[in-house]
Amino acid sequence: MSEPTTTPGVPTALTAVQHAPGSPKPDAILTVDNITRRFGGMTAVDVGHLEVQRGAITALIGPNGAGKTTFFNLLTGFDKPSSGKDARWQFNGKTLGNTGAAKVARAGMVRTFQLTKALSRLTVMQNMLLGAKDQPGENFFAALISPVWRKREQEITAKAEDLLDRFKLLEKKDDYAGSLSGGQRKLLEMARALMSDPTMIMLDEPMAGVNPALTQSLLGHIQSLRDDGMTVLFVEHDMHMVRHISDWVVVMAEGKVVAEGPAATVMDDQAVIDAYLGAHHDTDLGDDSLLNEETYEELADEVAEEDAADTADEGKATR
C-alpha cells in the first residue's frame, strides 16, 4: 500500500494546499459557492466557497448544530438553498444547483443518512438490488416482460452478493432488513449506496452505532474505496476515526467553514478550538482573582459599547 493510505498523513496532491477555509484544490470534484440555508431567523448553513479534492477522503466535522447535515442535504438535493440563484455548485463538471435528489444520485453523488433508511420491509437483497443503476425492468411496461430484465437482474444480484460478502451481510441476504441490528443497517445502507458505482459517496455519520471491531474493517473498506478512485465525504463525531482515515478535514461551526487542513494539524487551529470549546475555554470565569483593575476597565468599556449600540438600535426602532 502506498504511504497515504496507511498513515494519517497528507496525500501528495494535497500537500501544497493552503490550510485555510475555502482554499482551492488541485483537482476539485465538487465546488460549492454561496450556499446558504435559513430556517426562519436562524442561518443553519452559510458557506461562501468550498472545494473537495477528487479521490480523497474528506471529513466534515464540527460541534452539534454546526449545520453539517443540512449542508449534506443541500449538496445532495434533499433541501433547497435559501440563497436561490446565487447558490452554485459544480460536481464532476456538471452544475447541480436546484437539482432534485434523484438526479444528483444519478449524476454519481450517492449519500447515506444519519438515521439509517434501510427499507425494513424489503429483504436485504431487495435493498441491494434497488441501489443498482440501468435495470430496464424498473420501467412499467418492461417490468411485465421478464426476459427484458432477467439478465441484468442476474448481473446485479452477483454484484450485490459480492458487496454483501465484503460487508459481512451475505448470510442475511434473504432476511428482512427490519430484522438487522442498527449497525448492520448502517452497513447495508453503505453497501446499497455502492451498488450504483458512485463517483462520490457521502456518508452521514457512518460509524455511529457500529461496534469497534466492525468499525476497523469498515475503515478499511472506505480506504479501499478511495484507492479504487472514489471520492468520499463524510460527517463524523468520532475524532479517532477522523484522524485515522481522512486525508483532509473541513471544520464547520455555526453554519460556516471555519478551518480546513490535514487531520493532524487542523485540530490545533485556533478557530477549531474556539468552535468546539468556546473562545474562553481556558479562562476560569468563576475565579475572582482574575478580576484585576485591567479586566474591570475592559468589561466597563464593553458594557458601555453595548449600551451605546442598544440605544442606537432602540432609536432606529422607535423612529
Binding site: 445532495t76 434533499f78 432534485g100 435528489a101 434523484a102 438526479k103 444520485a105 444519478r106 450517492v110 449519500r111 447515506t112 443518512f113 433508511k117 434501510a118 427499507l119 425494513s120 420491509r121 424489503l122 431487495q126 435493498n127 438490488l129 434497488l130 441501489g131 443503476k133 435495470q135 425492468g137 424498473e138 420501467n139 412499467f140 418492461a142 417490468a143 411485465l144 421478464s146 430484465w149 437482474e153 428482512y176 427490519g178 446499497r192 449506496a193 450504483s196
Partner: protein, 328 residues
Amino acid sequence: MDYILQLLSSLTQEALAPTTAAFALAAIGLNVHFGLTGLVNMGQAAFLLLGAYGFAISITNGLPFGMAVLVALAISIVFAVILGIPTLRLRGDYLAIVTISGAEIIRMVGRSSLLTDTTGGSNGITGSSYRDPFNALSFLPDGTTTILWFSYSNNGVNGWWIRIVGWGLVALFTLVLFLLMRSPWGRVVKAIREDEDAVRSLGKNVYSYKMQALVFGGALGALGGIIYVLPSSVQPDAMGRSMTFFIWTALILGGAATVFGPVLGSILFFVLRLFIRTIAGDFIPNSIMNAQQAEQFSYVLVGVALMLLIVFRPQGLLGNKKELTFSV
C-alpha cells in the same frame, strides 16, 4: 337440507356475479395504489364512476364500443394525473384528502340537474341505452346455458357474456399484478411505500413512479366501473363514498400487497353480506328486524369486521405480517 343447498347456490351465484368482478377489478387497482405504492386513495369510486360515465355517454353519443372504452380509460387517466400533480410531491395524507373530495366533486357534478341531458342527473343513465354494443360482441349463441346450478341466459342483461368478460379481465389483471409485483418496478414502488427519501437517494424518480401507480390503478378502477354498470345502470349515488369504503374493506380483508387478496376479499365481502342478510331475513322475526333493517345490519357488521380485521389481522387473510403495508 334443501334450505342449505339453496343458500349455498345463492351464495356461489353472488360470488360469481358481475358486480363482484367489478369490485375485484377496482380492488386490484386500489392494491396497486395502496398495497404496492402506499398511496392512500380514498376516492376509488370516482374512477369507477368516471369509467362508467365515459363509457355510457360515449355509446349514447354514437361512438363504437372500442372507442367508448378508450374514452373511459382516458378520462380516468386524466383524473388521476390532475389529482396526482399537486399531491404526489406532498406527504401521503394530502392525497387521501384530495381524492375523497375529488370523488365527491365528480359525483356531485354528475348528478347535477344542469347536466341532465348528458349524465341524466340524479336519475343516472339507464342500462338499455348503452348495453347493446357490448352484448353484440358476444360470440355465444342465443339461449340459456346451465352449468351445475348456475343458469343464465347467454347474452342477456345479466348473463354469461358479462360474467365471462368480467372475470376474464379479473384473471388478466391478477396476472399483470403478479408480474408487476415480482419485477424490479414492483421493488421500486414497494420501497417508495416504505421510505421515499431512501429511494430518492438511490436515483429513482419517486414522483414518476407514484404517478404511474396512480394512473394504472385508476384505469383499473374505470374498467371495473364499466363492468359494474353494464348489467345495471349508471347511478351516481350508488358510486359514492360508501363504494370506496367497500372496496377498501375488500382489499384489506383479502390482504393488501398480495396477488389474490383483492379478488378473494371482493368475493368474501359480497358472500358474507348476502349470508348475513339471508340468515337474518329467514330466522329473525320481522318484528325484531325486517328485511330492510337486515340489509343495514349487514353493513354494520361490515364496519365491525373491518375494525376487528385492522386490530387483529392487519395483513388480511393472505398477507405477510412482516411485509405489512401500514404501521399498527
